[in-house]
Symmetry: C2
Amino acid sequence: MGKPSDLLQGTLEMLVLRTLENGPQHGWAIARRIQQTSGDVLQVQQGSLYPALHRLERMGAVTATWRPSETGRQARFYSLTPAGERRLEKERAQWRRLSAAVDLVIEGAKA
Amino acid sequence: MGKPSDLLQGTLEMLVLRTLENGPQHGWAIARRIQQTSGDVLQVQQGSLYPALHRLERMGAVTATWRPSETGRQARFYSLTPAGERRLEKERAQWRRLSAAVDLVIEGAKA
DNA sequence: TCCCATGCCTCGATTATCTACACATCTTTA
DNA sequence: TAAAGATGTGTAGATAATCGAGGCATGGGA
């Protein structure tokens, strides 16, 4: 059960933005969804998630409103902004480029 | 020209160990080789490389000796130890697992 | 002579993440 | 009824890898 640290720094924001492409969600649901979608490989710590959400809000990539959740409790729902979508696209492209580059190095034939 | 930070933290050690699978090399050559092998996408900063090399040496994953380089100058050649090989295998497996998980999340179908 | 490539290294700052908490409500279980 | 667990948001302090910028030294070419 690897933590999104280890080598995934900076990737958390991308994961969060990507999850919000499916529509507005509150923090707890975002964390759960990432874990599920990744086949239980990635788990997002609350101490990383909320600061990341606040960063994204400060930079205008997401907006947030208080609304009752499915269970009737008050929860903070985050939505992607156009700026957030653009940011996601950039980070996604960056990820593809860099992870492909790492693969080239580590999977390449010896000698 | 992405920096191996951005999302590659912790990956540097793996890249270095992988490069040493091709035989002993000095720091400068390791950096150059990673850059070449990655198709000029990854570039290793000296301020990251040497601390990483020293960490790996302290933990016994590599050994180092001074020898003249191809150009005749004294250089510090690093070699993989058995412990380093084991570490590389673990990190390589970890990388595959986690990068595949990230791909699952970000490439998955919407909704 | 001056510059550039080679080659090693350190220092301070940045920054995201982690662990571990605190707080609140609602539901389930003993 | 009381305890426990799930839901849900958040902060505080510490950690640690990386970065940028610099220093130092040698050798070769212009």
